[in-house]
């Protein structure tokens, strides 16, 4: 009997979620995470760590506002330092969320249904962390609104020929569209929570947010059109955002930055690190909340495959980057790469090659992809590697550019680290609030995956 049950619970290879779920049990299991007074110890502990790190961010931001950007290790010529490294890293992490929610929707990949919600939340919070850095880096963050063209009495306007201004538009559009897409996806589930909440305050809050959603067929029809259109808009948007981020580098003439393949290279790297973050979040969450039936090994395996594929693109980009440095015949380009590989940052360079190119090769093995613990470690390694990649691009290129007399190395201060870890804290803080307050798996989209959701044959006359 026990054996039989085991067999039934295992999803078949072509099935996406475990067998035996009904519309009711899916709803109950996902909403139970939110609609309960009990909070798992794991949640409290991780949220606590995030909250503490967030305090570090607040302290370092206050110090930065009070004393100026000199509290960071940015000195001429490396004026971008950690701030832009972290910005690019966080923006990249966000990309997997939009890829899962928009591109995989257009490609009709049903397995995305149980991971898209929290991946989108991840996008939103990663973009929030990313957005902090350019603002903090500005020196006078209270004037950040000068980045936008608005009628003013100073007779100045942003320079629309600058990639940094393009970036302002790209990132703020990305943040807005991600938030809208995420909220639209939430509306039916907010309706479910409204109808299931016992607590009056929760009922009213979810009720207000659900805006009176009642699951009408007329509404669903428009709703489906809306999600399709939003996906169609988000797909070119997500590809454009990291492209524009890469323009911050390629439009400049710094050796090691000025190359045409940066856009695809950056987008692939973004999706690579984003899927690593999806795995790093999904593996502990599904274990703690017992959601292995909904976020199955197949989801982890598929994410690992995407990680492997994008990792190979990144590896190709590293090779081409080096090849072109040599092939260009430009002594400055060649010197920049020679410095990366053998100069003062050689240790970081080879470490990043190990993290991003060598270690993901283990993902070729099915056994490896089927072991959540190993996947979790592998995703952390990739996240570290991708951070180092951005660090390498920014710091090593700026530290040693055209004129050797201006060369100077970058040394991160404790406030650099506090700000960086602080945004990790902010991310954990926001993400765990989301997990506690909103359904982390899209309930209505999982319902459509159930075999019961198929309308029977006799209908199609």
């Amino acid at each position: 009997m026990a054996d039989e049950r085991q067999v039934i619970e295992q999803p078949e290879p072509h099935e996406i979620i475990a067998r035996g779920y009904t519309f009711g049990t899916v709803t109950d299991q996902i909403s139970a995470v939110v609609l309960t007074k009990r909070t798992p110890l794991f949640w409290v502990a991780t949220f606590g760590v995030g909250f503490l790190l967030l305090q570090g961010l607040l302290v370092s931001a206050v110090l930065l506002f009070g004393l100026g950007v000199g509290v960071w290790g940015i000195r001429t010529p490396v004026m971008w330092g950690f701030a832009i490294t972290n910005f690019v890293w966080w923006i990249g992490i966000g990309h997997a969320g939009t890829l899962i929610s928009a591109i995989l929707l257009l490609l009709n990949q049903k397995w995305r249904n149980s991971i898209n919600r929290f991946a989108e939340a991840m996008t939103l919070f990663a973009v929030a962390c990313a957005g902090l850095f350019p603002i903090l880096h500005m020196g006078r963050p209270w004037l950040a609104y000068w980045l936008f063209p608005y009628p003013n009495s100073m007779m100045i306007e942003p320079n629309f020929r600058s990639p940094l201004v393009w970036d302002v538009f790209a990132v703020s559009t990305y943040a807005t569209v991600s938030a809208l897409f995420w909220f639209v996806g939430l509306i039916p589930d907010l309706g479910t929570l409204r109808d299931r909440a016992k607590n009056l305050f929760a009922k009213y809050t979810y009720g207000v947010l659900a805006m009176g959603w009642r699951g009408s067929a007329k509404h669903w029809s428009i709703y489906e059109t809306a999600s399709l259109l939003l996906s169609g808009l988000a797909t070119p948007l997500v590809l454009s955002v990291h492209t524009v981020v890469s323009f911050d580098f390629t439009i400049a003439i710094v050796p090691g930055w000025h190359s045409t393949f940066f856009p695809p290279y950056f987008v692939a790297g973004a999706i690579y690190s984003g899927f690593a973050m999806v795995l790093a979040l999904a593996i502990p969450l599904r274990a703690v909340y017992g959601l292995q039936g909904l976020i199955t090994d197949r989801h982890l395996e598929n994410s690992a495959k995407v990680m492997l594929a994008t990792g190979l693109i990144v590896a190709y980009a590293y090779i081409m980057e080096t090849f072109f440095a040599w092939y260009s015949g430009s002594p400055y380009e060649a010197q920049a790469f020679w410095n990366r590989m053998t100069g003062p940052y050689a240790y970081q360079y080879w470490f990043l090659v190990t993290c991003n190119i060598v270690s993901p090769q283990l993902l070729w093995f099915k056994k490896f992809r089927k072991t959540p613990m190993l996947l979790f470690i592998s995703s952390i390694v990739v996240l570290v590697g991708m951070w180092l990649e951005r660090y390498m691009i920014i710091v090593s290129s700026l530290a040693q550019d055209y004129v050797p007399s201006s060369w100077s190395l970058f040394h991160a201060t404790r406030w650099d680290w506090a700000t960086y870890w602080g945004t990790i804290g902010l991310f954990i803080f926001l993400f765990f609030l989301f997990v506690r307050l909103l359904p982390m798996i899209s309930i209505f989209e999982v319902r459509t995956l159930l075999p019961q959701a198929k309308v029977g044959e006799e209908v199609k006359r």
């Binding site: 009904t22 519309f23 009711g24 709803t27 063209p149 007779m155 306007e157 320079n159 629309f160 020929r161 393009w166 538009f169 790209a170 559009t173 807005t176 569209v177 809208l180 897409f181 909220f183 639209v184 509306i187 039916p188 309706g191 479910t192 409204r194 109808d195 299931r196 805006m211 009176g212 959603w213 009642r214 699951g215 009408s216 067929a217 007329k218 509404h219 669903w220 029809s221 428009i222 709703y223 059109t225 809306a226 259109l229 939003l230 808009l233 988000a234 070119p236 454009s240 524009v244 323009f247 209505f444 319902r447 459509t448 019961q452 959701a453 198929k454 309308v455 029977g456 006799e458 209908v459």
Partner: protein
């Protein structure tokens, strides 16, 4: 029957029964009706003739408006309002306008998609008569409902109720206003 009635609602426990019932009601001549389901059911669009809606047009207009706004804003600022001569390069430097034009197209398109969705659905709508049916809260969980509205010319509370009862409905109830 009573003036205060919004319609009659039947409950089903699976999507196939709902789609069959909706089709039967349609064939019976009922037009003013709506189904309520916990997830989108493609077949209902066909049965209820819900193929077209204006949302794509709204999004197209929004996107075009965004693109125009982006391009004209940059043109106005860099050519008319705040021209900067950099080594005699043209003021109307359109290649560098592409990105912001594109981003604003997407931004306006997405905002109009969301506002269009809300407008076409008539949301937010805090009160709706169907919520008066006590068991209706299961419509966001695992039950499927078909409501024939009182405004339908063929509607007659008793006849419509008994018609719905013949269609594998688990329960048929009247929807109060």
């Amino acid at each position: 029957m009573k003036e205060g009635s919004y319609g009659v609602m039947a409950e089903f426990d699976n999507p196939t029964a709902l789609v069959n019932a909706t089709r039967a009601a349609r064939e019976q001549g009922y037009r003013k009706m709506d189904a309520y389901t916990p997830f989108p059911i493609e077949e209902l669009n066909e049965v209820l003739h819900l193929h077209r809606n204006k949302l794509p047009l709204i999004v197209l207009c929004g996107g075009l408006l965004g693109g125009l706004t982006g391009y004209l804003m940059q043109y106005f600022i860099t050519v008319i309002y705040f021209p900067i001569n950099v080594g005699g390069r043209p003021l109307h430097s359109w290649p560098s306008y592409i990105i912001i034009t594109f981003e604003l197209t997407i931004l306006f398109g997405a905002i109009s998609a969301v506002l269009g969705l809300l407008a076409l659905c008539g949301l937010p709508m805090p009160y709706h008569p169907v919520f008066n049916v006590p068991r209706f809260s299961a419509a966001t969980r695992d039950r499927f409902y078909l409501c024939i509205e009182a405004t339908d010319p063929l509607f007659d509370a008793e006849k419509t109720s008994s018609f719905l009862s013949t269609l594998e409905a688990k329960e048929v109830s009247e929807v109060a206003h």
